[in-house]
Structure formats: structure tokens, C-alpha cells
Amino acid sequence: MAQITTLHDAVADLVHDGDTVALEGFTHLIPFAAGHEIIRQGRRDLTLVRMTPDVVYDQMIGAGCASKLIFSWGGNPGVGSLHRFRDAVEHGWPHPLEIEEHSHAGMAGRYVAGASGLPFSVLRGYVGTDLAKHTSTIATITCPFTGEQLTALPALRPDVGIVHAQQADQHGNVGIWGIQGVQKETVLASRASIVTVEEIVDELDPRVTVMLPSWVVTAVAHVPSGAHPSYAHGYYERDNAFYREWDEISRDRDSFTRWVDDHIRGTSDFSDHLSMVRSGMAVVS
């Protein structure tokens, strides 16, 4: 059974220095509050896993939480570069970042294999590209039935999988609707999981299309607006203005550090953080 707890305690109990941690959410339901709490608690040397390390990982990488990144697309969607990610890869700031890169199809398959208890995933992909020259977790396999050459990738089995959801009930059953990304696969592939939710309700909304039973979730924490500046379908919209502002905030090391010191390290929790940025946020009535 999932334990209903605070985000502070869930991160303190489950996320340790050196862990492999996946925060997922495909543009929708990105667990920003959890990313901030990991920064606030000063975790170091993490292997961060995520298909689209966007602004949340830019913050964590720039804040010095990560020593390795496993990913498939690192950009600020619709805006441009992730400046902290680029600074880490191009110049080793704040320290060098090892990268292991795949394609979206590959990463999604690796989560599915992890969730399925299989050692690897198989797909028709990567052939002819330079990815395999630089990524050691790509291999060729021959289909035992047809002889076709296919690509095999090892399963992802994070120590902790972290997602945000619209709702949990009092028992810790979790409900998601809208764009569902790889949230289910991430929770099922991980040894432990943290789910932050907009609301704790008596009964899950009938719009729920993905349900994670309480007994596959380790910890549930109630964090309203915990996906901001990403969005929670039915609760609030994506704060596109913040994504654009991030380009300016993150462009230079000093302005980034000031922002993290003021908005994350200098705040007690995510609601404190939100009160600093709330003005730009569109709330769905």
C-alpha cells in the first residue's frame, strides 16, 4: 500500500545520493515540485533518467544534482536550447555530466521492458545512425524466428520513479487522464516510486484513463500545482510564458544560480515557491 506522506519526507526517505532517478511526464504532468525538493535537499551524484529532460532537468543539472543523464531529447519545447544542460555537456559546469542517449522509441521501449520484468527491449531502429557508436547500451539481435536483425536495448530499472498525477484516493490509488506519456511504465519499472497529486479525493474522477493501484506505488504526496510550469489537465494550463522566461533566466550561470537560490533553495516548499511565481499562471476555472 502506498504511504500518503509529505513530499519532503518521501524524497528524504526514498531518494539517496548516487541513485538512479526517473522523473517522467511527457510535457503534461511533469513533476516539477519533486525536482525542486530534490534540489532543496541537496542530492548529489544522481543518474537522471528522462525521455525529454526539459526545464525540470535543466534546473537539477544546473543545481549540481546529476552526474549522468539518460535521455532522448534535451530541449525547451517550442523555445530552444536547455542552457544548463548544454553548459554541463559543453563545458562541464557545474561539473561534468556523463550522457547516455537514445531515441524516444528506444527509451519508451526500455521503460516497457523494465515494467514487464524483462531484461531488454527490442525494436526496429537505430540502424544506420551514429547513436550506437557512442551509446554502449545499444546492441544488435537476430530474431530467432525470421532471422531479421533488430536492435536490443537494456531495460530501465530506476531506483526511484517519480510522476505527478491529477488525483489519488484515500488509499493511495492514483488516477491520471489526458496525455499519459510513460508515467505508468516509469512507476512499474522502478524499485520505488513517488507520486505527487493535485488532489486527494474520496473517489477517483470518471475521466481517469490510467490507474495505478496503491500497492504498486511507494509514496503519495499532496502537492497542488505540483507540475507547474507544466500542466495538469482539468486543473491548470501550461505556463508557456514561464518556459519562454526560462530561456533568459538560465542563459547565464549567475542569473540561473540567483534564481535557484531565491526560488528553490530559499523557499520552504513548493507552495512557497509558487507564491513567488504565481502571477504568470493561468488557472482553469
Binding site: 531529447w73 530541449g75 521501449g109 540502424v127 496525455i179
Partner: protein
């Protein structure tokens, strides 16, 4: 109304999409082009975004591939693993759109690094969905501004395979899709030559010249004997496009 370069590229791409096409759309000009086609001559075009929205009908171009409006207007929303397996890998996508930082004469694409991989001059976002779109969509359209830094003789990194090394080398890799069939630039249009698979200039936009296209290309660009001038966006096309992008 004078069309901007982006508007010409978008209209030219939209015209390439037949009604009923199943189209895998990225963000930016491709998304605008696919939505323009849907509002003009292709009302039954099916737009699939990699966030898992099938049949999305956004009223304005989304900023990200996962904006809420895509899910609200979709026929169905499925998981990301499902998009890349049942739908893309299995060959259910007619047209996939791709962008690039670098592109070579065979339509191979780099979106990973400029310079050396271990010590990049510029670290780009990486592969995303592109390698499998390039491999498994029945055909791909590429939209990219033409200049010598983008249209290169040799890629720094091959992220997504086009016509590979030319000839039948793409098919020899076992790829199921035909690969890139058109490159739409700010100067004109390139299409692959039969047999070699090398992209040649087949159209220039009004006011642009063959000489400009050649100067903007890092390999010795050849010109099709059937070179045409792009038909300018019509008043109707421009009005529909501007209605679509107003307030975006």
C-alpha cells in the same frame, strides 16, 4: 498581402499533404503546415503528435507537442510507448515531418551535435522521435532553412537516416519507409533524383534564384532540368494561415 519566407515554406508543405493523410507532426512550421492543410484542402487529414494524441485538431499551433488542446481535440489519447510501436513502427504513418540542424545530399539528418561528439561545439537536443520517424514513416518531409552551415557536405553526426549513402543503400538497411521525398527550404524545393537518391533543386520560390540555392548548399547542388518556380501562396491560403497563427 506579401508572404513571408516562413509563410511560403508552410504553404508549400501544406500543399504536399493530400486529404486523408495520416501525418506525424512535430512542433513549429510542420505543425502549422499540417493544420493549414486540414483547414484548406485536407479536412480529413489525421494529425498525430508524439505525445500520444491521435487525430488532434488544435485551433491554433501548439507551443509544445503536448499542449492540453491536443488532448482535448484528439480522437484518442494513447501512451508514448504505444505511439512508437503500434502506430509508427508498424507502418501506419503516411507522412512524418522532420527538421534538422544539419542535412546532407541524401537527406540524412543531424540533430545531435555540431563538432566532435565528446567535445561538441554545440550540443543540440538529440534524437527525440526522429530516427524512427525517418525509418518507419511511409515517407518523410523535411523543412529547413537553406544555408551552408545546415546543408553540409558531411554530417558531424548521423541522427536519422534518409537515403543513407544513396542508390539502394537505404533499402539494404531493412527500412520499411521510403525515406525523405521532399526538402522544403526558404529558397526552394529539393527532391531526390531517381536512382541515386541525391537531392536536387526542383523549384525556387518567387524572387529567389538558383545561384542563391547553390551558394547556400555545402555540396555541389545539382539543378533539375525540370526546374519550376513555386506558385506564390494564394490570397485564400495566406488568409487561412494567418487566421490559424493569429494569437499563437
Amino acid at each position: 498581402m506579401t508572404a513571408t519566407t516562413d509563410e511560403i515554406m508552410t504553404v508549400v508543405a501544406a500543399r504536399e499533404l493530400p486529404d486523408g493523410v495520416v501525418c506525424f507532426v512535430g512542433i513549429g512550421l510542420p505543425s502549422t503546415a499540417a493544420n493549414l492543410a486540414r483547414h484548406m484542402h485536407a479536412p480529413n487529414a489525421v494529425l498525430i503528435y508524439e505525445s500520444g494524441t491521435i487525430g488532434a485538431k488544435p485551433t491554433r499551433p501548439p507551443l509544445s507537442i503536448g499542449d492540453g488542446e491536443l488532448a482535448d481535440t484528439a480522437d484518442v489519447v494513447i501512451s508514448v510507448p504505444e505511439i512508437f510501436t503500434y502506430w509508427l513502427q508498424a507502418g501506419r504513418i503516411d507522412v512524418g515531418f522532420l527538421g534538422a540542424a544539419q542535412l546532407d545530399r541524401f537527406g540524412n539528418i543531424n540533430t545531435t551535435v555540431v563538432g566532435d561528439y565528446e567535445h561538441p561545439k554545440v550540443r543540440l537536443p538529440g534524437a527525440g522521435g526522429a530516427p524512427e520517424i525517418a525509418a518507419s514513416a511511409k515517407q518523410t518531409f523535411i523543412m529547413l532553412r537553406q544555408n551552408p552551415r545546415a546543408f553540409v557536405d558531411r554530417l558531424d553526426f548521423c541522427t536519422s537516416v534518409g537515403n543513407y549513402q544513396g542508390g539502394d543503400s537505404r533499402q539494404a538497411l531493412g527500412m520499411t519507409g521510403r525515406g525523405p521525398t521532399v526538402i522544403i527550404t526558404d529558397i526552394g524545393v529539393l527532391r531526390p533524383e531517381a536512382g541515386t537518391g541525391e537531392f536536387v533543386l526542383t523549384a525556387v520560390h518567387p524572387g529567389r534564384t538558383v545561384e542563391e540555392a547553390i551558394a547556400a548548399t555545402g555540396w555541389p547542388l545539382r539543378v533539375s532540368p525540370d526546374l519550376v518556380t513555386t506558385e506564390l501562396p494564394t490570397a485564400d491560403e495566406l488568409a487561412a494561415l494567418r487566421a490559424l497563427t493569429a494569437g499563437a
